[in-house]
């Protein structure tokens, strides 16, 4: 079943066409990767899907529903949660609290329940606490839940951001260059985490430069170049595709 469907999505910045009539179907389950050289329009594509930018034309469907040009919080509510190329943690909060914020969508407490601390509120807080600790364990950060997020090493910050996104229980998780700035060792751990997330039933769509990570984790790869989709298919097929080789190595090698 198709979970996310982009239909002729276009976005221009002045004279530049960052995303040019891209059609893309992301199947439910598994890992899909979007690759392409720098400036190919990958991040713009992510911003369009997550609502941080709006397309000039085209439609974006999620689980059959038109989510084109909805604001980010509405798209998150629909079930798409993203991470950022430059990690966007709540630096002022503890590791544990960062994940608790991620639970926002699936909890209800408002102003009055916070003031009155009803039994329901307390029970909800216990559930949030348990879920946050479980997710910390999932990404291997359970050692220091009270540490300020800003004190974590960069690789740990990436993992924390992913765990926080999972707390929102997305149907589709968008990862924007999750391996950027990670060591080879950390990338390997990340690769395992991404497979585990897909194994738990969350569909993953990722943008990535690290080809080893992409080849190891993705079931399907879409290749963008100058805003256009030039190839799509399983890793083995995309690797052999002449337009992809041309885009990555220059036309002379094709």
């Amino acid at each position: 079943m198709t979970l996310l469907s982009l239909q002729a999505v276009t976005r221009r910045f002045g004279g530049l066409v960052a995303v040019d009539a891209v059609d893309l179907d992301v199947a439910e389950g598994g890992v899909t990767a979007v690759i392409g050289p720098n400036g190919a329009g990958k991040t713009t594509l992510f911003n369009l899907v997550s609502g941080f930018q709006t397309p000039d034309s085209g439609r974006i469907l999620f689980a059959g529903e038109d989510i084109t040009a909805r604001p980010p919080e509405a798209i998150a509510t629909a079930g798409i949660v993203r991470t950022f190329q430059l990690v966007q943690l709540f630096q002022n909060l503890s590791v544990l609290e960062n994940i608790k914020v991620g639970c926002h969508l699936h909890t209800q407490g408002g102003l009055w329940s916070a003031l009155l601390r009803t039994r329901r509120t307390r029970r909800e807080e216990q559930e949030v606490e348990a879920r946050a600790r479980e997710l910390l364990q999932f990404v291997g950060l359970e050692a220091a839940p009270e540490t300020e997020a800003s004190a974590l090493a960069y690789g740990q910050q990436r993992l924390l951001e992913i765990a926080r996104s999972l707390a929102a229980r997305p149907r589709l998780l968008l990862l924007d260059e999750p391996a950027a700035g990670l060591s080879a060792d950390e990338t390997k751990r990340l690769s395992g985490a991404i497979r585990a997330i897909a194994g738990r039933g969350t569909t993953v769509l990722l943008i990535e430069h690290d080809m080893k990570l992409v080849m190891n984790t993705a079931d399907t790869i879409a290749v963008l170049d100058f805003g256009r989709k030039i190839a799509e298919g399983p890793p083995a097929m995309v690797r052999e595709s002449p337009p992809v080789i041309a885009a990555y190595l220059g036309v002379g090698h094709a």
Binding site: S50, F52, P71, P72, E73, A76, T77, V81, R82, T83, F84, Q88, L89, F90, Q91, N92, L93, E97, K100, V101, G102, C103, H104, L105, T107, Q108, G109, G110, L111, S113, A114, L115, R117, T121, E124, E125, V128, A143, A144, E146, T147, A151, R164, S165, A168
Partner: protein, 323 residues
């Protein structure tokens, strides 16, 4: 809850650093009850300001926004309490309810359009509303009696029970501050408070997790305006007099000083800041002509060496065993 780990620390020196400003604040309050007189008045003002600053801290410390105009909400509620009790003989509680409603209505009208914008629009709008309310207080003489002010306001009363003695008023104010602080602590430790703190950390990340940023900013603005309104009404009932100067720009400057000296974003900071800053002019009185000079220098030194304020003094010590 940023100051909780420090309080629960087992390091005795660190504990001492955390406890010192609290010991001073509690000591001063106790001394006020024993000694009575002028000192009770100083501490009563400190407690009223504490209510104001606790609210401001929710908006500025937790949610990371800026407002230069919360004095407007104190003025709206304070004047409503004054006029309704002095001219129309309302019960103080009923008058406060009317003042609170008016302050919240104005906060809604100011906050609704401006909080949807990023940047400093809100700060500018709040500055304007503060000045506008001040102008109204001075010019609308048939109701506010202008610079003359309103006297004959009924004293602090709860359910028909009037509190007349200065010590009694201070005691009631301390209780109100504790309740106000408890409410703020509960808010901070909840889903609501986490959403505000998330907005302060990264608006984009908050939105990506489904938090309606404009909605929560407005909610934080209204909550802090309610605290300001309570402080405004308390002031007029405690002093039994009100004039425009009471809620002028001076109130904003003083509240900011208390917030930063006590520790912005901490739970205890507003109370500490309110007590210590209220005492500073008394402490520096001995310097006579140089009083303001020493007062200013003291503030600068504090903000350089303890930028997170008195509630986070223990941060000055080298940290051990940080993960």
């Amino acid at each position: 809850m940023t100051n909780l780990p420090a309080i629960t620390s087992r390091d005795p020196l660190r504990r001492g650093f955390v406890a010192l400003p609290w010991a001073v604040a509690c000591g001063m309050l106790t001394y006020a009850f024993i000694a009575g007189g002028y000192f009770v008045t100083v501490m009563s003002f400190a407690m009223i300001y504490a209510v104001f600053v606790i609210g401001l801290n929710i908006f500025m410390g937790t949610a990371g926004q800026v407002s230069f105009g919360h004095n407007a909400f104190a003025a709206l509620s304070g004047y409503t309490s004054a006029v309704l009790t002095a001219t129309y003989y309302w019960e103080p509680i009923a008058a406060f309810a009317a003042g609170l409603a008016l302050a919240l209505l104005v906060a809604l009208v100011v906050g609704w359009p401006t909080l949807r914008l990023k940047g400093h629009y809100l700060a500018m709008a709040t500055l304007a509303i503060g000045l506008i309310v001040y102008e109204i207080a001075t010019q609308w003489q048939s109701v506010t009696q202008g610079y003359m002010g309103i006297s004959g306001i009924s004293p602090l009363a709860f359910w028909g029970y009037e509190i007349v003695s200065e010590r009694g008023k201070l005691f009631a104010l301390v209780l109100i501050v504790l309740l106000a602080s408890l409410a703020a602590a509960r808010l901070r430790a909840s889903r609501f408070g986490r959403a505000l703190a998330a907005i302060a950390g990264s608006e984009d990340a908050a939105r990506a997790l489904g938090i309606d940023v404009a909605h929560y900013k407005l909610a934080a603005f209204l909550v802090s305006a309610a605290y300001a309104a309570l402080a405004g009404s308390l002031f007029v009932h405690v002093v039994e007099f009100v004039s425009p100067e009471v809620f002028g720009l001076h109130m904003v400057v003083l509240a900011f000083t208390m917030l930063y000296v006590g520790g912005i974003g901490t739970l205890g900071g507003p109370i500490l800041g309110a007590v210590i800053v209220s005492l500073l002019p008394e402490m520096f009185r001995g310097f006579k002509d140089y009083q303001d000079l020493f007062y200013g220098a003291g503030l600068i030194i504090l903000l350089i060496y303890a930028p997170k304020g008195l509630a986070a003094l223990s941060d000055l010590l080298p940290r051990k065993g940080r993960a």
